[in-house]
């Protein structure tokens, strides 16, 4: 397993292909295998050098008690970028991975050629986004947990979710796995370790990525939002407030495009990367 020491942390990564650098940042609770299961790693590695890595506390990267705000995870990325001697890269971030990508573009613009977002919610835009507390993905999750006999709060609460998964009995876990189906159930195993961390709170911290700072980002941004995204207000805000932002929609998806429409997602990412690469550099 390739690992790299960065910021005192043993980070697991995978790399494939040759060409311009592309880095894939997964969502909270996921890991780099999401890009393999989506077929994105395979598709992009035919044209680019693709690096995917596990965020701290995820996959095969070490877990720390704290350090999960977007600014801290952006520093992890910057250190990994240096350690692997990458060129300025196109960053593709799903959900919170997109927040980290944007925070990196702001703090380390020399490392970022462009960003492709997949349906992120930004804590710094909480005031314009009405749908977070009752996001459809949370409602679906609540229903599934209820079938397993576990009650989750009405409003999105990752800390409680992590604790609830850590405390599931084998019977409850089995019931949940059956209800969720293989594609969703396979992510459950990564959640209990986060119950002992500040991740659940950290991911809702603005951590300096305010609306004003977001508007300072000058690299090209592609905002891929899902057709049934709970965060369309955020999408519209980004489109009208970022310096250089193009919006596109992933058909049929509702926040989990790499899982819910992997081929559509991959096709859109390839199309927009190609477009970005053909732009004259500033």
């Amino acid at each position: 397993m390739p690992h790299q020491q960065v910021n005192g942390l043993n980070v697991h990564y995978q790399q494939a292909g040759q060409g311009d650098d592309v880095v894939l940042l997964h969502a909270v609770t996921a890991n780099l295998s999401v890009w393999l299961f989506a077929g994105l790693m395979d598709a992009l590695s035919q044209e680019y050098r693709v690096t995917a890595y596990d965020l701290r506390g995820h996959g095969l990267t070490e877990t720390t008690p704290t350090g999960y705000t977007s600014v801290e995870l952006a520093h992890d990325f910057a250190a990994l970028h240096d350690a692997l001697e990458l060129q300025p890269a196109y960053l593709i971030g799903h959900s919170y991975g997109g927040v980290i990508a944007m925070h990196t573009a702001l703090l380390c613009p020399d490392k970022v050629r462009g960003v492709i977002l997949s349906d992120p919610y930004f804590p710094g835009l909480a005031s314009i986004e009405p749908n977070l507390p009752r996001a459809n993905v949370w409602i679906d999750l609540r229903e599934s947990f209820a079938i397993a006999g576990v009650e989750l709060p009405e409003n999105v609460d990752f800390r409680t979710l992590f604790r609830a998964v850590a405390d599931l009995t084998p019977q409850q876990m089995q019931a949940l796995r059956q209800h969720l189906g293989p594609a969703s159930a396979r992510w459950l195993a990564g959640l209990p370790r986060l119950a002992e961390t500040s991740c659940g709170e950290d991911l809702f911290q603005t951590a300096g990525l305010t609306a004003e700072r977001l508007a300072e980002i000058y690299q090209p941004v592609v905002a891929l939002y899902d057709e049934y995204s709970p965060f369309m207000a955020t999408c519209k805000y980004l489109q009208s407030h970022l310096k250089d932002c193009v919006v596109d929609l992933v058909p049929g998806a509702k926040h989990m495009a790499p899982v819910q429409n992997p081929s559509g997602f991959t096709a859109l990412v390839r199309h927009h990367l190609q477009r970005l690469r053909q732009r004259p550099s500033d």
Partner: protein, 94 residues
């Protein structure tokens, strides 16, 4: 290497993978996620374990991409056996 030999190899490896014991019989129809309780990252760990076992790089991302393209949510042991048989054979031919 025959498919039967690869299946026997895999069954032995998967009986106790990543500290999880599986007491039922593992055959071609055993599913990685539904039956063996694989976590997503286990697919990456298994891929690297098999590359070490057979001493060669194998195009696992291609296998997972094909899975995504046909909308399959799980992988059966037999599909991995066929994939390994194909790629181990083709590397021996070259």
């Amino acid at each position: 290497m025959t498919s039967e030999a690869i299946l026997a190899d895999l069954a032995q490896l998967l009986q106790n993978f990543q500290g999880r014991e599986y007491s039922d019989t593992i055959d071609r129809h055993t599913r990685f996620f539904g039956d063996l309780g694989f976590a997503s990252i286990d697919a990456v760990v298994l891929g690297e374990a098999l590359e070490r076992r057979y001493g060669q790089k194998l195009p696992f991302p291609q296998l997972l991409a094909e899975l995504a393209q046909r909308g399959a949510e799980d992988l059966e042991v037999g599909e991995l056996v066929d994939f390994l048989a194909q790629h181990l054979a083709s590397s021996q031919e070259t």
